[in-house]
């Protein structure tokens, strides 16, 4: 078993950043440890193999495409240096319009109060609030979009969007399919609260939610919204599977923590 210290020394040696003391230490280890010698040999072979990967010339279409997009941007604006920054614009306004400064300060104060009170009180979502899920999307302060995953396979199209708020993650799922699809979402019931709504127009679809599992059977389109409250804990990833005519059209693990 090679120690962490030796692995560290080998990596430093490969990168050419080992000090003279570290190099001497490694040399003495290599003299007596065949396993460490093997590691060095393999690491050196890896570094050599890496250097065999040549840089690729970019396609000739890249530069013209970049320049076209820059010219398109330029045609819609004034020169870069001619634009005052937002801060400069505010400063120049405040110099001779103190009324604006007062009104702006008041508005910021009200906004901060609203944000602070909402963020402090909404640490998790209880059952009674779940009927208001769709409303929450528009009203929870700091609710920011996460990632969007496009679904396009076997005539099934749609997307999955995540939105993050304070200790909350919302998944919005849109699916368009010629045949009925089955959606299942699995998560850890000990750490999250899971619930969902579906559009009333999807009367044929059966939605069941319980024990960390959500299933929607018989849907042909529309959207569902699943809401996760972390109950004070980090929200763990959820597994999502969408099936159509017995075949999976989407399988994935969705990170439900902002910034992951």
């Amino acid at each position: 078993m090679i120690s962490e210290e030796i692995i560290d020394l080998v990596n430093k040696e490969i990168d050419g950043v080992a000090s003279s003391e570290e190099a001497a230490r490694l040399k003495s280890v290599l003299a007596t440890d065949p396993e460490a010698r093997k590691l060095v040999g393999e690491m050196q072979a890896l570094a050599t193999a890496m250097s065999a990967v040549q840089k690729v010339q970019p396609p000739p279409t890249l530069k013209p495409a970049i320049m076209r997009s820059l010219e398109a941007v330029d045609s819609h604006r004034v020169p870069l240096t001619a634009r005052p920054s937002i801060l400069q614009a505010f400063k120049s306004s405040f110099l001779w319009k103190p009324g604006y400064a007062f009104a702006c300060g008041l508005a910021v104060g009200v906004l901060l109060f609203f944000l602070t009170t909402n963020l402090l009180t909404r640490q998790s979502i209880g059952d009674s609030e779940l009927s208001g899920t769709l409303v929450l999307h528009g009203q929870v302060p700091g609710f920011a979009p996460g990632e969007t995953i496009e679904i396009n396979r076997d005539n099934v199209k749609g997307n999955i969007e995540t939105h993050f708020g304070s200790n909350v993650c919302m998944i919005r799922l849109r699916v368009e399919a010629p045949e009925e699809v089955t959606v299942s979402i699995l998560t850890d019931p000990a750490r999250v609260h899971l619930d969902a709504v579906r559009p009333s127009s999807e009367s044929g679809a059966r939605l069941t939610v319980g024990n960390g599992v959500l299933t929607l059977v018989g849907a042909r389109g529309g959207a569902i919204v699943a809401l996760f409250g972390g109950n004070g804990h980090p929200i763990p990833p959820a597994q999502i599977r969408i099936m159509s005519t017995g075949k999976p059209v989407f399988e994935g693990v969705l990170s439900l923590e902002k910034g992951n």
């Binding site: 040999g41 072979a45 890896l46 193999a49 840089k55 997009s69 020169p79 870069l80 995953i149």
Partner: protein, 180 residues
């Protein structure tokens, strides 16, 4: 010298000279494209990401601080765009891995070792891959990689060492580097 030239080109661009930015594109399109290519393993996607990276650099040129190396700033944009691209398509990554690998190896590279490395890179997490690409293919120091990825030098080392262990394991299985 290059840094001084870069700063001059940036200033000329800010003064409204688009040709100065064209010189920046000439200078950096190859490394930016290659960063995206190593991260994404798809030439078409890499071209798209490189184009977006240059466009974002141009649009945000006022926020570039001359105390920072320009190419590090540009590579940071390119790497962030690559990571964003990967995160958006992550659930599909494994399914499409084999197809993309075939495209890249058929069209771009033929050397067997390079192919094995390219394939092995896809075994890494995107964060590990980013560090390996910047270290081995672009030759950045731990400090510069940390600046580009906005992580500590310590984290750069730990990701790099972990990545190498994985790559070593993959390549040894395929018969590379075994001296004994």
């Amino acid at each position: 010298m290059i840094e001084l030239e870069d700063r001059a080109l940036v200033q000329q661009t800010l003064d409204g000279n688009l040709r100065a930015f064209e010189a920046i594109v000439d200078r950096y399109q190859k490394p930016v494209f290659n960063i995206a290519l190593r991260m994404l393993r798809n030439a078409d996607d890499a071209e798209d990401v490189a184009q977006v990276a240059f466009l974002k650099a141009y649009e945000n040129l006022r926020s570039y601080k001359p105390g920072f190396k320009f190419f590090s700033w540009l590579y940071r944009i390119a790497m962030n765009e690559s990571l964003n691209f990967l995160r958006q398509r992550r659930p599909f990554e494994r399914m499409e891995e084999a197809r993309e690998a075939a495209v890249l190896t058929d069209e771009v590279e033929t050397a067997e070792v390079a192919q094995q490395i390219e394939a092995a890179l896809m075994r890494l997490t995107v964060d590990q891959r980013a560090v390996v690409v910047l270290k081995h293919f672009e030759g950045f120091s731990y400090l510069e990689i940390g600046q580009i990825l906005n992580i500590s030098e310590k984290k750069v080392k730990s990701r790099l060492f972990a990545a190498r262990q994985i790559l070593r394991g993959v390549l040894v299985k395929k018969g590379f580097g075994s001296n004994d």
